[in-house]
């Protein structure tokens, strides 16, 4: 995908909702320090972070400030060099606490500090691992879905019962869309060299019946390589389908076509 195609995805990436191939594409751009995507995502992170201000305002407990500063001082003192340890060796006439108590307290503080440090590290590592695992699962799932879809498309295309159709573009500059109508397995749609689409738009396939309103079959978009490969179920008797048509619709699809037919093929 190009930087221009990735641009509308920056905020979704910053929000953490982007999944699968789109996320992988954008991360590839970021990994190679793309001079458009890196600042674009940085700005998107700022935009998304501002959603924090939509949280209902709450006042932190007054004691929290003191607790925080105690913890800071304690962590600073734990890390203090041992130069003053000699003072502990000097005899005290009436020590408030014996040396062993100081040593035990110091050991306890060190153990606590170490445990907190380890816990923090493990917490961070766990969050990072969880993030990586989620990404790997999403990528794996996207790949499996793609393989399965290609297998289904091939089955419909190769079946002797499938009826091949050519959906001719109204705009002569657009590529032809191929359809294979199978009575049971559904309708397979394939196309190459499709132009990229605006993120707010989608393509929608319709069965146009001999009488009555068009029936939505599927919504789809070309992949980053400009290819389309999908199989959708046939939801009306094949002999009642007069034509197959594709229109461009708002993202998410429409109950009925809202724009002119972009591709069409006569069936019966």
């Amino acid at each position: 995908m190009t930087c221009e195609q990735l641009n509308p995805l920056y905020e979704e990436y910053a929000l953490g909702v982007l999944e699968g191939a789109e996320r992988a594409e954008l991360e590839a751009h970021l990994a190679r320090a793309c001079d458009k995507c890196v600042p674009g995502v940085a700005h998107a992170r700022w935009v998304v972070s501002q959603l924090a201000l939509a949280a209902p305002e709450a006042q932190p407990p007054g004691a929290l400030r003191g607790k925080l500063m105690d913890a800071v001082k304690s962590s600073a003192e734990n890390a203090r060099p041992v130069a003053s340890f000699e003072k502990l060796k000097s005899p005290r006439t009436s020590p408030l606490f014996p040396v062993w108590a100081w040593a035990a307290a110091a050991a306890l503080a060190l153990i606590t500090g170490y445990a907190m440090h380890r816990m923090n590290n493990q917490y961070d590592q766990m969050a990072e691992l969880r993030k990586e695992m989620k990404l790997a699962i999403a990528q794996n799932q996207a790949l499996q879905n793609q393989i399965e879809m290609e297998r289904m498309v091939n089955s419909v295309m190769m079946s002797p019962d499938s009826k091949p159709l050519k959906l001719m573009p109204v705009d002569k500059n657009m590529p032809m869309v191929h359809a294979y109508l199978h009575p049971h397995m559904g309708v397979a749609i394939t196309a190459d060299q499709m132009p990229s689409m605006r993120s707010a738009r989608t393509l929608q396939l319709w069965f146009v019946p001999k009488s009555g309103k068009p029936m939505s079959v599927a919504i789809f978009r070309p992949d980053p390589m400009g290819q389309i490969a999908l199989v959708a179920p046939v939801n009306m008797p094949q002999n009642e389908i007069a034509a197959l048509a594709v229109t461009e619709e708002p993202a998410g699809g429409s109950p009925q076509p809202t724009s002119a037919i972009a591709w069409m093929a006569q069936v019966n």
Partner: protein
């Protein structure tokens, strides 16, 4: 490591975030206090919204500022302002907490009485005014969105859900959820762009 002996701030002039971070690098705990006074309230509000438990929110906020103290060297002011960095760190910590809590299936609500009122400290009036203006902008935008679209964005931001998880939770089509979130974020971006210009 010793706490640095610090100079007081010049009267009438509030230090920038970058200056405070520099002083944190010199182990000046007063600088951390100043940053807490500046950002403690919005960070706590965000974390409480996500974690839903005042006691846990308090721990997470303390953890966030301690992390700021310990990892100040990892923050490079040249990368951008501190506020989004802090908000992002707080959101991630709170979402991690939420996920752990969900995994353990032991959600427990604290009583409202845990929220103690305390004095409002306002050491950075200009920063607060600017943030308050942006907060109004963001809230107005969220209120103007249709209920379902607002809910989708809230589930993504405050509950860390993915597109698919939101579609599953709301029972809406995945494409619809994606379109809602994309549209909402675009409006937020435009709104903040207009506000800053």
């Amino acid at each position: 490591m010793l706490l640095a002996v610090v100079q007081p701030w010049p009267e009438g002039k509030q230090p920038t975030d970058a200056a405070l971070m520099e002083r944190i690098l010199q182990r000046d705990s007063g600088a951390l206090e100043a940053l807490y006074d500046r950002y403690g309230r919005p960070v706590y509000s965000l974390v409480l919204r996500i974690a839903q438990q005042p006691a846990s929110a308090e721990e997470i906020v303390q953890d966030v500022f301690l992390q700021l103290w310990r990892s100040a060297d990892r923050f490079q002011i040249s990368r951008g302002p501190l506020e989004p960095w802090l908000f992002t760190m707080a959101r991630n910590r709170a979402l991690d907490f939420l996920r752990l809590k969900r995994e353990k299936q032991r959600r427990r609500e604290d009583s409202d009485s845990d929220i103690l009122p305390s004095a409002v400290v306002n050491p950075d009036p200009e920063g607060d005014i600017d943030r308050s203006r942006r907060a109004e902008q963001v809230r107005a935008l969220m209120t103007s969105l249709p209920e379902a679209q607002r809910r989708a964005i809230e589930l993504a931001f405050f509950e860390g859900m993915s597109h698919s998880e939101i579609a599953e939770t709301t029972g809406e089509a995945l494409g619809t959820v994606k379109s809602w979130i994309r549209g909402g974020l675009l409006r937020l971006k435009q709104s903040l762009g207009e506000a800053s210009s």
